[in-house]
């Protein structure tokens, strides 16, 4: 058994002539949070869909708990324990917390034709799980629409964990949130990792990623610029690498030039 829970070795994905991903390598241990950073168009979405089993990589291999695996569908990825929380969260705001938590995977009781959705059990589990995160939902039958953005994000993550995720893939979990809400979500992510999950946190916000991440992989135009341990890189270095430091330097020079001409 390797020391890594999951490894993505030299993953490439092509769409016709477009090279969406080229030779991307990532390795995660249990309890590790890896932040995947990249600007728009860096290939983050393609990588997420490859992790979630939506796309098959054209090159490279995925090794999970020491075994090479191939996903034929998103369900395969789910079954081995890769839980992906997309940006839209897959929550229905008019439905209750419980009904959302168990959507598509409702616990049942009874026999054959008279099987019913075991709502009491579901309520209990949902309230318990949300309680563990510190979200006090007095009434698990309240609509998800009444929850804040951060609480919804936590609900979606909590659901993925409950249904057996060992690797959590989180797509921009803090992008639409204010500072307070974002910190609530980040705290929960740290707690989940502390409980032994491997977390891949996809974001373009270095300020959210840096405090919680153990390692950072920077994507740029479909290629990985490398994976860095936290001790080896500063927040500023990450930021400049992500945005294409050269471009920012050029911009600075140009602005100075404009200033000079104006004065």
């Amino acid at each position: 058994m390797s020391e890594y829970l999951i490894q993505f070795n030299n993953i490439s994905k092509f769409f016709g002539k477009v090279i969406a991903l080229k030779d991307v390598t990532m390795k995660l241990r249990k309890g590790e949070i890896m932040c995947l950073l990249g600007d728009n168009g860096a290939g983050k979405s393609t990588l997420i869909k490859t992790l979630a089993g939506v796309y098959k990589p054209d090159e490279g291999e995925i090794i999970f708990e020491g075994n090479k695996i191939v996903f034929d569908s998103p369900k395969d990825a789910l079954d081995i324990g890769i839980g992906t929380v997309y940006q839209d969260l897959a929550l229905v705001s008019l439905m209750s917390v419980t009904r959302n938590f168990f959507m598509g995977r409702e616990p049942q009781k009874g026999v054959s034709f008279f099987k019913t959705f075991d709502i009491e059990k579901a309520n209990k589990i949902a309230a318990e799980r949300m309680g563990q995160i510190g979200i006090d939902i007095r009434d698990p039958s309240q609509a998800v629409g009444t929850m804040s953005g951060g609480e919804r994000q936590c609900l979606a993550i909590s659901r993925a964990i409950y249904f057996g995720a060992k690797v959590l893939v989180l797509d921009e979990p803090t992008s639409a949130l204010g500072v307070h809400q974002a910190s609530m979500v980040l705290k929960y992510i740290v707690k989940a990792a502390a409980n032994g999950l491997a977390v891949i946190l996809i974001t373009h916000n270095v300020h959210h990623a840096y405090p919680v991440g153990n390692s950072f992989t920077v994507l740029n135009r479909g290629k990985s610029l490398g994976t860095f341990q936290k001790k080896d890189i500063s927040r500023e270095e990450l930021l400049s690498m992500m945005a294409g430091g050269e471009e920012l330097n050029k911009l600075e020079v140009e602005l100075k030039e404009m200033d000079r001409l104006n004065s």
């Binding site: 439905m95 959507m103 598509g104 409702e106 959705f117 009434d139 629409g145 009444t146 929850m147 929960y188």
Partner: protein, 375 residues
């Protein structure tokens, strides 16, 4: 785990959001979709109780009369409500009623089929039509409004054309004599609890006809169907996994798909449901009247949708209840019959229907904002 992580995880305390308010019991009640319809139904009964209380509307005969009308509408309104919760419309309900009626009458009268076989044939056709509607909506991604509007014209046109082609006319009478010894026709054509009404009559508690039978001879079978379907639909929606899938499919199609809900199958099932309910409606009416009319069920789809909306279904899907739709149907049925017992011209019924629907939509919209409003 590094020391740093340990520090972070030990420091986590999730303070409760201070802006959370306690949810009052009243607010919980307000969140029920059928609340508006319940209030409306109570108001309607108070209204007619006052202005038509002694007119015979609330005699046994009068009650059964408006219950029968409400029940017929309720049968299709419940199916329409379930489909609406699942996020789709079916405008072909009315045409399906006419089509199903003819599917029973022509084989039975002109082709010499036994009545039970014609009834089974009509239900098979309903499943096909519903399946086709659903498949078309799911596969093309077109709005169900358009797809079923097309089906409204196609079915009504085909019903008329085939009937005229085969019979030379637009009505097919002569079914009454076939009901007598048929093994399954009674499911759609009996008055139930006759003994109870005979007993009530013998105790002089209800009005009698001159021949000694009670004026109200029994509870129409439509009422039994209506009650049974309300219970079944409510059970499915609230108590089964399939119910959760219906809410999810209507609430957020993509989200539901992402967590493994078979959205397409759910929707197709619901379309089959409305077509089958239309056929139940057709069976009851055709066997009661003893004849099938190609125009039967005209505009019923709109009444069914109106009843569902008054009952709290959102036009955008994902919210509503079968009990609400049942109450909506009772409101319409009661008013449409009750108006005869008052001095009000019956022409005003449609005005009431429209006004009631507008009011319901405004009210429901307000409720939805309340339910989903974010902190």
């Amino acid at each position: 785990m590094s020391q740093k992580e340990k520090n972070i995880s030990s420091k986590i305390d999730f303070n409760q959001d201070e802006r959370l308010q306690k949810v009052s019991k009243l607010r919980l009640l307000l969140n029920r979709p059928e609340l508006g319809a319940l209030g409306g139904a109570i108001l309607v009964f108070i209204f007619f109780g006052i202005i038509a209380g002694d007119s015979g509307m609330f005699s046994a005969y009068g009650i059964l009369n408006f219950l029968d009308v409400s029940s017929n509408l309720g049968i299709i309104a419940i199916a329409a409500a379930m489909l609406m919760i699942g996020g789709e419309f079916d405008l072909s309900i009315g045409s399906m009623i006419g089509f199903a009626g003819i599917c029973i009458a022509i084989p039975a009268i002109y082709w010499g089929w036994p009545l039970w076989m014609s009834i089974i044939f009509a239900f098979s056709m309903a499943v096909l039509v519903g399946y086709f509607n659903g498949l078309l909506v799911v596969k093309t991604g077109l709005p169900s409004f358009i797809v079923t509007l097309a089906m409204l014209f196609i079915l009504r046109g085909a019903t008329l054309a085939f009937t005229r082609l085969i019979t030379g006319r637009t009505q097919v009478p002569g079914l009454s004599v076939l009901i007598e010894n048929d093994p399954i026709a009674w499911i759609f054509a009996t008055d139930t609890f006759k003994w109870f009404f005979t007993w009530l009559g013998s105790m002089n508690l209800i009005a009698m006809r001159t021949d000694g039978l009670p004026l109200a001879s029994g509870i129409p079978i439509s009422v039994i169907w209506f009650i049974a379907l309300t219970i079944l639909a409510t059970w499915i929606l609230m108590k089964t996994r399939y119910g959760n899938w219906i809410f999810a499919s209507g609430g957020d199609k993509n989200g539901a798909t992402n967590v493994g809900v078979p959205v397409g199958k759910v929707k197709i099932g619901l379309f089959i449901g409305t077509a089958v309910a239309s056929t139940i409606f057709a069976c009851i009416q055709v066997l009661d009247a003893g004849s099938a009319d190609t125009m039967r069920g005209n505009l019923k789809e709109l009444e069914a949708i109106a009843a569902a909306v008054v009952g709290g279904c959102l036009l955008t899907g994902g919210y509503g209840s079968a009990i609400g739709a049942a109450l909506g149907a009772i409101i319409f049925g009661t008013v449409s019959m009750g108006i005869f017992y008052t001095d009000v011209d019956t022409d005003w019924f449609k005005v009431f229907l429209g006004a009631m629907m507008l009011l319901a939509v405004v009210f429901n919209n307000y409720i939805r904002k309340k339910v989903t409003e974010s902190k």
